[in-house]
């Protein structure tokens, strides 16, 4: 994947570049907002990591100009905003302007790489009909699931719950938001029903090493797939 880092602090920018290159991405770095806007208009990037505290035009303005550009054919360009400020307003403003995710400095590198992966996966899911998670593959067009290339039987509601979890790997998802995403108009779905679907999904997926963690009193988290050693 091709990533653009917009960060004026040279040590942080070089650290980010090396970490993301180690993940196998092609990384460009700029310290100036104008250059970032220009680069994004001329070349194709899969993700932008954008610092808010830039000299001259700040990150908010860069974000606004990026969003004003014509959309790429493969869908909107994901933007991960970095900020050193903690005002809630900044977060709201960033997300309002169309940032896809938000991280407050300083952050742990594994968290950054996990979020980058999640954003890339999400943007690809927009484009392609297939969702891949370790040995699991969901063909969203044919509505067929495969586990280690074997067809996997999933009820409609199980499929819907799994799709929600797959869209937010390594993020906790509340039962309420699963209900909202899964239940159609006029459907009554209780939190207990969600528990039932999740436990059925677990019995089907856990043998293949795919783990759904319960967050007590909150919801679930689909863990990132780790190759069993």
């Amino acid at each position: 994947m091709r990533l653009l880092i917009v960060e004026d602090d040279a040590p942080l920018a070089s650290g980010l570049r090396r970490i993301l290159e180690a993940e196998g991405h092609a990384v460009d770095v700029t310290s100036r907002g104008e250059q970032a806007v220009l680069a994004a208009s001329q070349e194709r990037f899969d993700l932008v990591i954008l610092d808010i505290g830039l000299p001259q035009i700040d990150g908010f303005e860069v974000l606004r100009r990026l969003r004003a550009q014509p959309r790429q054919a493969s869908g909107p360009l994901p933007v991960l905003v970095l900020t050193a400020r903690d005002a809630v307003d900044d977060r709201v403003r960033g997300l309002d302007l169309g940032a896809d995710d938000y991280m407050v400095k300083p952050f742990a590198m594994p968290e950054l790489t996990a979020r980058v992966r999640a954003l890339l996966r999400r943007s690809q899911a927009h484009g392609g009909p297939r969702i891949v998670h370790g040995p699991l593959t969901l063909d969203t067009v044919a509505r067929r699931a495969f586990l280690r290339s074997e067809p996997l039987e999933l009820a409609a509601r199980e499929w819907a719950v799994l799709e929600v979890l797959l869209g937010r790997v390594e993020k906790i998802v509340s039962k309420e938001s699963i209900i909202q995403a899964v239940a159609g108009w006029g459907d009554e779905l209780s939190p207990n029903a969600i528990e039932v679907y999740v436990s059925r999904l677990r019995s089907k997926l856990e043998p293949a090493g795919i783990k759904i963690r319960t967050v007590r009193g909150f919801g679930y988290m689909l863990e990132e797939y780790k190759e069993e050693s």
Binding site: P11, L12, D86, P106, M109, I172, R216
Partner: protein, 449 residues
């Protein structure tokens, strides 16, 4: 200096002059009315003397008074007072009547009235000259003071009573008048009291009386300066956060990059120390900034905040922290609407959750609850770690204090920050035991919405 009540002060100032005016008024009313009454009573005595004089006869053996008993009785008769008389000859010799009734200092040319004492009583007397043959004899008539004193008392009462009523009415008018007069000041103070600490808008001078305008404009000047100072501080804090966090992010990135590579042993553990110190420094910077922001005057505007939503927004980050330490972080969330600064409330919750995760052994449980109890919104964090001994519960709220023997590398600022933020929101903070008298439970209860 004790607070001085303007009302009491005014009353203290007004009481002595009012009392003096009362006395003066009584005197001014008393003397003009007692004078004619005294003259009228004296005249009655003079009349008795003249009547007595008409009974004076000059004979060959001297003067005598031929007073029939009936007349004597009539002359001496009086409803209240005893009447005395005495008739003296031209040379002062006793002719008739009460011997020893004192005469005036000088023989009277005409009728003279005077006060004297007879038989141990105060008496009012008149002395009048009376013809006896070719000479002038003297007649003295006196009476005790009962009816005169009674008259004086009546006059005094009838003038003092209305005066006292007027004085009392004046005091009542002052008491309530001061309250009414100070009404605009009371409204001003209510308006200022109703403000949140961060509300530094100018006070509207319209509708305040002219006399309070200088006060209002002085307050507005002060508020203006404060609000400028506060926005300077906010800007400074935001800049400081940026200046600290960006290099820390770089430092953390590079140490994590280095640690991802194979390293010889002493270098690895040293680098791990650097990494831990970087994380601690970042946290300390956050806490110091939170503490600075929690200072009154630096606070942002209060807004309606649901603690449940606040926890939900942070839950993801906290769960990952907990997983990294193999702690089961759970939730029990019901709506808990409060009014406050979202940044500070988030920081307070983050500190409580961080403490729970930090001080609970691997495999432990930490639970975050929000909700309303008896109409009061609350948030609490409970863990099943070692807990805080009762004797230490007060001290852990002090800045930089850490319970002796505590593992980990906390700064000792967390609970001090939480307490500061709770106090700033009018909330109370209680440290107790967790369920089954195990672990630690910190609850923050907010005032009723």
């Amino acid at each position: 200096m004790p607070a001085r009540s303007l009302r009491a002060h005014l009353l203290r100032l007004l009481l002595p002059p009012i009392a003096a005016l009362l006395v003066l008024g009584a005197l001014v009313a008393y003397y003009p009315s007692i004078e004619p009454a005294t003259r009228a009573y004296d005249q009655a005595l003079v009349d008795v003397g003249i009547s007595l004089g008409s009974y004076l006869r000059a004979g060959s053996d001297g003067y005598r008074v031929e007073l029939p008993v009936a007349v004597d009785q009539v002359l001496r008769r009086d409803a209240y007072d005893k009447v005395y008389y005495r008739v003296l000859g031209p040379d002062g010799e006793q002719i008739a009547g009460d011997r020893g009734l004192p005469e005036p200092d000088a023989p009277p040319e005409s009728s003279t009235s005077y006060n004297t004492v007879y038989e141990g009583q105060k008496v009012r007397a008149v002395a009048i000259p009376a013809k006896c043959g070719l000479s002038l004899c003297r007649v003295v008539v006196a009476e005790t003071m009962v009816k005169r004193n009674r008259l004086a008392r009546d006059i005094l009462v009838s003038t003092l009573l209305p005066e006292m009523l007027i004085a009392f009415a004046t005091l009542v008018i002052v008491w309530f008048g001061v309250k009414r007069g100070l009404g605009p000041l009371a409204r001003l103070s209510d308006e200022i009291k109703a403000r949140s600490p961060g509300d530094l808008r100018s006070i509207d001078a319209a509708g305040t009386p002219e006399e309070t305008r200088p006060l209002v404009s002085a307050l507005n000047d002060l508020l203006g300066q404060l609000s400028q100072a506060s926005s300077h501080q906010q800007r400074f804090l935001a800049d400081a956060a940026h200046q600290l966090r960006t290099p820390l992010a770089g430092l953390r990135a590079h140490t994590e990059l280095a640690l991802a590579k194979p390293l010889p042993e002493p270098a690895r553990s040293e680098l791990e120390q650097v990494h831990a110190a970087t994380i601690r420094t970042a946290r300390l910077a956050n806490q110091l900034l939170a503490l600075a922001r929690a200072e009154p005057g630096a606070r942002g505007d209060a807004a309606p905040v649901d603690l449940k939503g606040l926890v939900e927004a942070e839950a993801d980050a906290w769960v990952h922290q907990a997983l990294a330490r193999d702690v089961d972080l759970g939730f029990d969330l019901a709506p808990a609407p409060v009014h406050g600064d979202p940044f500070l409330l988030r920081e307070a919750l983050a500190n409580l959750v961080h403490n729970g995760i930090e001080y609970t052994p691997r495999g432990g449980r930490v639970t975050v609850r929000t909700g309303e109890s008896g109409g009061q919104p609350f948030v609490e964090v409970e863990d099943d770690g070692p807990g805080i001994p009762p004797a230490e519960r007060e001290r852990v709220l002090e800045r930089f204090y850490r319970v002796p023997g505590t593992p980990g590398t906390g700064s000792g600022l967390g609970l001090a920050i939480v307490r500061e933020i709770a106090a700033g929101h009018g909330a109370s903070m209680v440290i107790g035991e967790g369920a089954g008298e195990k672990g630690c439970r910190v609850a923050i209860t907010f005032p009723r919405g």
